[in-house]
Subunit: 106 residues, 2 copies
């Protein structure tokens, strides 16, 4: 499998990461990745057009939030949690705690 | 003075707040408000067109991040820190810590 291009942790930018997380669909994708680990790029139960979903994955990947690995027609997505936590301590926890508490993004 | 319309804390939305903070100029505005307290809506040293700045303030206000009070031609802005902290524990701290650590948004 090869990984699609993604930034190194030292190039993570706070505004870019906040923007990537500033959308209810992308928050839901991140919530699922945090809860379920590696997933395909076509999660069940999301009523989002395929091209829109693809755009959401790209924004998350380019911000450094996820890794996308490609093999043939399969795309597997993981959250870069350790790298995000190392670069932005508390941020992902604050976001995931709020989603868990409120059901936001679900 | 009268305050411009703003959401109640129970109507704060995580994705909307993240989006409001997902811009380098808005992060810088929030950093200044956190450091300096109440400011006018025309902070010094920002090379941002007036209409763009006005739009940034509106996005922050509509997300619940700031209060804007108006008296004649004067607009005074404050960060709704206590309300944000109560609704999204850790979030603002995570953001402000990162800005302080990296100089992001400056």
């Amino acid at each position: 499998m090869r990984a699609l291009p993604q930034p190194q942790p030292e190039d993570f930018d706070l505004a870019t990461v906040m923007h990537a997380l500033g959308d209810p669909v992308r928050l839901e994708l991140v919530r699922r990745l945090a809860a379920e680990g590696e997933t395909t790029c076509s999660p069940e139960g999301l009523t989002v057009p395929r091209s829109t979903l693809s755009n959401h994955w790209r924004i998350l990947r380019e911000a450094g939030a996820i890794t996308v690995r490609v093999s043939g027609k399969t795309r597997l997505v993981t959250l870069r949690r350790a790298e995000l936590d190392a670069r932005f301590p508390l941020l992902l926890r604050a976001v995931l705690d709020e989603i868990a508490a409120s059901g936001s993004g679900r």
